[in-house]
């Protein structure tokens, strides 16, 4: 159906045709038919009878095309598959292609797993600097966008279906009309970009129409980072943290493993070292932040500060380092500042202060001064040419656009993948200004809020349907190659821009190649092929530029933060600025810290809630200046006091049937003057809102679930993780089964886990896990096979935060197996606890008897069996489950079986060591998950399970789980008096979890 749309959509001329005969006389149809069916068409052209037969054939194929996804096809251009896989399509075997996904202008390299060119799953490209094999949920979920049934599929003009040709014609009229005034009145609005081809195209437009203007709007921008570098070095520079060279990292309100570009790389560099026990190489992580983030979960020391206090804290650190900066006005935790300063000084070249993009430029500049002072500049912190180009302040750029629109200077506005009607700061009143523009064009994947008020709406390609290029945080470029031809009548932003640049001929493929022909040296075809294959263009990383620091930066004091309640606007860990709000995986994914699903909330600390007389789920009026939005409260331990954090990206009004109306819209109270943090008020209403939270209880109840110690304690007590097991006999009536062949097992290193959810998203994509919706999640019926439990230990106000991913433990003595009355869950010959969906009658006894509660039940028909387009995303190697059956983690048995078959084909006796990766393991940027053969002494998992850190969750039940955990180690600074969390969890097992801050039921 979609293919048919795509092609007939191009058949523009006769708007009403009465028969296929008439249609077939158009030149467009002739062109299409001769390209598609060369021989048949030749025959048809020459005889009337042949013509009739051909039309019959056409009718049949049009009909058939509507029946299935059989229309998924390889793109016309040559695409290059990735490494080990077969070079040609072998039905039943997946083929991988290197490409990239983009967010905020930065690209992350991915490998797209395709089955007959259907993209089904993504994994990080190990050779890409910003992925290194890991992938965060937002990137992971991108594969669903291709198959999103709510994608915009039709070009619309004033709400009516139109065609590309009409659009091109009308745009050419616009160009012709504006040519006399050199393009004045024509404006473009895009996001930040690093695409060389896009930049080249804009340059061409500028030359053709010098008066046309290009505006950039990005609700979550990094401009403060650039501006800070300009203050420190006199010019805009990209700041890149080389955390692999760092020994002390101080995260200052940065969320450097979550929201910050390069987050996956940061996580990999800091946390991968925690997989070996060479503690000298572990970098000590200090995190000072207002709201707990994944970085805070991995921190060795975490300090709660208001966002507005960060500058003062850094100034105190700088002063302790001997830099002459003005004494901060706000009071800060002096002991913390001194200890951090001493540790940073000791680290010298390896000291890194990561400053949040929301922090004012002065704080960034001060960090540069500290890096220069310690010698870290040029070593652990490097600066390069800006990756995003041109460097403009998106807020100023949008403000300029709004005033131009209000002044009537904008005649045609082209908005490429932007949704400013939704995400522009409220005080700019973008929507009102936009209505004064006589010709509004929107290019985007969905008919969003902006498309609703635009004259033209051009549906855009998904990431895996188009050619393009994008740079990573170090400048390395990736050519984005499509894995399939566009499913619908969609077009790329580049194609739209090319109308204006005059580069009408050819396709995006030609345009991207043209860009790189100019840039690449040597044999172009060879380099091009290699770039496509590798997913990176060789030698495109930017060279380090380390200008001298302007000493004036020490004089500037950062502006003080707001008084009273500080309202912070932060990008949502799942939906970002709202662009992912159409993606049901991301809507349902429990947020890393709050574990809220399908909603955002105003996050406040327990004592702030108490002070304001608020409880979780109370609806409040959040007032900022004269604007107000109603939002539910969520009480979050670990928040700084007198801070209310709101996540952007929710409350979409026009995000399709799935995303619309979920959560509340924080943009409604965001101003362009203070977009990051500002003073606000909370006013309680007498209503409550039902929120879906997947984890209501956050105490470990002294159950030794996450075992933790400091590295020093570990050195003196290597068996600390087993202290509580000493007296437990491991009795069994049976002789243990000896596994002759493989014996699969898993180990999860809690020191390397920060709860980022990468594993959850990857598992959802790999294992065809359905989305169940808010109501079902609220009832406790989410389906994720791997979940990340989040526990707090220590005082409620200032807890230590730890995460624990929980998969099926594949118990040797599996409680689920003995209670199933129909043999639907059984032990496999390689030790897997297997679930036989076909045999399951759904008594749910197995789930009741599972101490880990990792089993998931299809209470309704959760998998969408009827939506054709979603079928494209499904992994053909994994059953799509029906109603009434139990399911659970399988250790990605389909991957094990694929490897087994391959080994047998190759005549090998055993599968090679560590050659199978589960989806969760593959996605984990920290490499916290090890999977492999416990019988193989060389396997990573076998080695890890032998260390004294390895313990079994609830091992006292004698279930003998296959999945074990490596106890969490804190690389603490002795100067800071923090009791070991191991001790703390012991002393804080309050009965029934009825602490005052205990989340809602």
């Amino acid at each position: 159906m979609s293919e048919n749309n795509a092609d007939t959509g191009a058949l523009e001329a006769p708007t009403h045709w009465t028969s296929l005969e008439e249609l077939a006389r158009t030149p467009e149809f002739e062109a299409f038919a001769s390209a598609e069916f060369p021989t048949a068409w030749e025959e048809a052209r020459h005889s009337e009878a042949g013509r009739r037969d051909f039309l019959k054939l056409m009718g049949a194929s049009l009909g058939l095309a509507g029946l299935s996804n059989a229309c998924v096809r390889q793109p016309d251009e040559k695409i290059v598959p990735y490494v080990k896989m077969p070079e040609e399509l072998v039905p039943g075997k997946p083929l991988e292609f290197a490409s990239a996904v983009e967010r905020g202008g930065y690209g992350t390299g991915v490998l797209v797993e395709t089955h007959t060119y259907r993209p089904t799953h993504l994994r990080g490209n190990p050779e890409h600097p910003d992925s290194r094999g890991g992938l965060h949920p937002q990137a992971q979920a991108g594969v669903l966008d291709v198959w999103d049934p709510d994608r915009s599929r039709q070009i619309r003009r004033r709400g009516n279906v139109s065609t590309w040709d009409s659009f091109v014609r009308e745009m050419n009229e616009v160009i012709a009309n504006l040519s006399e005034q050199n393009g004045a009145g024509l404006r473009f609005l895009t996001g930040q970009t690093s695409s060389p081809t896009l930049l080249r195209t804009f340059e061409a437009i500028r030359q053709r129409m010098p008066e046309a203007r290009w505006h950039i709007w990005e609700p979550v921008s990094r401009h403060h980072m650039y501006e800070g570098a300009r203050r420190a070095f006199g010019r805009y520079l990209e700041v890149r943290y080389r955390l692999d060279r760092a020994s002390v990292v101080f995260d200052l309100d940065a969320d450097f493993m979550g929201a910050m570009p390069g987050a996956i790389r940061h996580q990999a560099e800091v946390l991968r070292t925690r997989n070996n026990q060479d503690f000298d190489r572990w970098c000590r992580l200090y995190v000072a932040e207002p709201t707990p983030t994944v970085g805070g979960s991995a921190a060795d020391h975490r300090l709660r500060i208001r966002s507005g206090e960060a500058g003062a804290l850094l100034a105190a650190v700088a002063r302790a380092l001997g830099l002459e900066v003005p004494r901060p006005k706000a009071s800060v935790d002096g002991a913390f500042a001194t200890a951090v300063a001493r540790d940073l000084a000791a680290a010298g070249r390896g000291a890194v202060v990561v400053v949040g993009d929301a922090q004012p430029p002065e704080v960034h500049a001060l960090a540069h001064a500290i890096h220069a002072h310690l010698g870290a500049a040029g070593h652990a912190v490097v600066t390069t040419e800006p990756v995003l180009a041109p460097v403009v302040d998106p807020m100023q750029s949008l403000r300029d656009l709004v005033s131009a629109m209000n002044a009537g200077e904008v005649e045609t506005l082209i908005m490429l993948d932007r949704n400013p009607v939704y995400d522009a700061p409220a005080d700019l009143e973008f929507g009102k200004a936009l209505s004064k523009v006589p010709n509004r064009v929107h290019v985007g994947a969905h008919t969003d809020e902006t498309a609703d008020v635009s004259h033209w709406h051009i549906p855009s390609h998904s990431a895996f349907e188009m050619w393009g290029d994008v740079r990573s945080t170090d400048g390395t470029a990736t050519i984005m190659q499509p894995t399939l031809r566009p499913l619908h009548d969609t077009h790329s932003p580049l194609a739209v821009l090319s109308i204006f640049s005059g580069e009408n001929e050819g396709t995006d493929y030609d345009r991207v190649r043209k860009t790189w022909k100019e840039r690449l040296k040597g044999d172009f075809e060879k380099t091009w092929r290699r770039a496509l294959h590798d997913g990176t263009v060789p030698d495109t990383a930017f060279r380090v530029r380390q200008p001298k620091l302007d000493p004036k930066v020490l004089k500037g004091a950062p502006p003080p933060g707001p008084d009273g309640l500080e309202v912070r606007f932060v990008p949502d860990p799942n939906l970002w600025d709202g662009r992912f709000a159409t993606n049901p995986w991301l809507l349902e994914l429990p947020q890393p810290i709050t574990k809220l699903s399908w909603d955002n909330a105003v996050l406040v600390s327990p004592s702030t809630a108490e002070k304001q007389g608020l409880e979780a789920t109370d609806v409040v009026e959040l007032r900022v200046e004269d604007r107000m939005v109603e939002a539910p409260i969520w009480v979050l331990p670990g928040m700084a006091d007198d801070v209310a954090t709101v996540h952007l990206g929710w409350g979409r009004r026009s995000a399709g049937p799935v995303g619309s109306g979920q959560g509340f819209d924080a943009y409604a109270v965001r101003s362009s003057q203070r977009p990051w943090n500002t003073a606000g008020k909370l006013k309680k209403t007498d209503r409550k809102k039902r929120l879906a939270c997947t984890q209501d209880h956050f105490r470990m109840m002294d159950r030794g679930l996450i075992r933790a110690a400091t590295t020093d304690h570990y050195a003196s007590h290597p068996q600390f993780a087993h202290a509580r097991e000493a007296h437990l006999p491991k009795l069994t009536l049976w002789k243990p089964w000896s596994y002759e062949g493989h014996k699969w097992g898993m180990t999860i290193n809690l020191s390397a886990c920060n709860g980022c959810n990468a594993c959850v998203a990857a598992c959802q994509s790999e294992n065809n896990i359905p989305v169940v919706g808010k109501e079902q999640v609220a009832k406790g019926r989410e389906m994720h096979w791997i979940r990340v439990d989040r526990y707090y230990s220590g005082p409620v106000e200032d807890p230590v935060l730890t995460h624990q991913p929980v998969t099926c433990m594949m118990c040797e003595n599996a409680p689920c197996e003995t209670v199933c009355p129909v043999n639907a869950t059984v032990h496999g010959p390689e030790g897997l606890n297997q679930m036989v969906y076909n045999r399951c009658v759904g008594t749910r006894y197995c789930s009741n008897n599972c101490p880990y509660k990792v089993r998931r039940f299809n209470f309704h028909l959760y998998a969408d069996w009827y939506e054709e387009s979603l079928k494209g995303q499904r992994n053909p190697d994994v059953t799509v489950r029906g109603r009434g059956v139990m399911e659970k983690c399988t250790y990605c048995v389909q991957r094990i079986n694929r490897a087994t078959i391959q080994a047998r084909v190759e005549g090998k006796k055993r599968i090679e060591t560590d050659s199978i990766q589960t989806a969760c393991q593959e996605a984990c940027p920290s490499r916290a998950i090890s999977f492999g053969d416990l019988n193989d002494p060389d396997a990573d998992v076998a080695r890890k399970q032998k260390t004294p850190l390895s313990y079994a969750l609830l091992g006292e039940l004698n279930t003998r789980p296959r999945t074990t955990y490596l106890a969490r180690l804190f690389h603490r600074n002795d100067e800071l008096p923090v009791p070991t969390p191991a001790r703390q969890t012991e002393s804080h097992g309050d009965a029934a979890g009825k602490g005052g801050t205990h989340g809602s039921h």
Partner: protein, 462 residues
Amino acid sequence: MGPTEPASTGGYVAPARVVGSSESLESVTTKIGDIPLSPRLDKLWLLGLLGAFGLLQLLFLSIAWLVTQGTGVWGLNIPVGWGFAIVNFVWWIGIGHAGTLISAILLLLKQEWRMAIARFSEAMTIFAVACAGLFPILHTGRPWLAYWLLPYPNTMGMWPQFRSPLMWDVFAVSTYATISVVFWYVGLIPDLATLRDRAKNRGAQWLYGLLSLGWRGSGRHWHRYEVASLVLAGLATPLVVSVHTIVSFDFAMSVIPGWHTTVFPPYFVAGAVYSGFAMVLTLILPFRWYYGLENIITERHVQNCAKVMLATGLIVAYGYGMEVFIAWYSGVQFEWFMVTNRMGGPYAEYYWALILCNVITPQFLWSRYFRTNVWALWMLTIVVNIGMWLERFVIVVTSLHRDFLPSSWDMYQPTFWDWGMYLGTFGLFFTLLFLFIRVLPAIAMFEIRMLVPDNAAKGPKE
């Protein structure tokens, strides 16, 4: 015993007041036999039947909605994978215990007072088991495949998994249902023949004639009847103990704190007898009042039932005490948390209500006043019935909702369809009961007749 040797029971003397002194052989037969044979449609009876039939429609509706929509229409989730369905199953099965206990064990113990209430209790048992049986089948995710729990030769080459307590349940409950039905039917045969002989209406004569299997009351018939009764009683006796033992294994065999308890089998059996007798009294008190059968189901019967309730209630209370004691004594933190969570967690009110209903209330039965005051006793039996339902709710739900990993803890909230299905089974139960009362002799006429001369001999005392 039996008509051939009415008075010589090995020196055993029947206790007083088993049958009222004014009753004769004729009056017993007329009083009991006229209920099914009466040509009139009694208005109150009709009203009761219609009410029950209405509730039965709710059951059908609930089942239809469940089967078309999935188990998700109930309030279940992960971790609470079992809710009302299993609570109701255990509750109904428990109620079904009185019948077999009365007819089998008391028969073997030669407790003649059982005769007046045996038939009624057996019928109640069968109907309760029918209600109970619906739940395990319908609570599965794919009820249309529930027959996979049966061991039958099939093309899949699959047996059920014999280690699973649910598998044992299938055998236990189906055996129990079969034996109960057979026992009940065999016991009915002589009375069916009486009805056949007394019926005026052709249709009734034909129906009872067919059902009485040619019973003529010959000595040989009575002999065979006695042997069959004894054999069936012998078969049924272990079932009284086994069914609820195995039902308790559904829980006791698991690893879940609050389920994994060795005291469960005896405590479940006692609880079942407890609730069974409570339900017998709940039903039989209005029944004997309405049909004026106070001379046949006498105060002695009522008192005896109350005493059995008191005894089993004390065993149940001991069970509750042991659960708490062992949880503490074991030193297992999960067990102790389970206890504190039951007593002080979000479902604490259910626990304390259960203690009030099942432990405190039956203590009134020490007093003769409460054993003999019909109204007070009747209210008390209803309280015990509620208490026993609460007990199963507490066991099933509070154990599951907070087990080992606090991260997975959640709450269970029953939905309209949970209640619909539960109330609907009352519809089924009472529809069957009303039909039974009207169509079959609710009291064993021939057995009561056996007691009459015995009773008459002691006449002056009464």
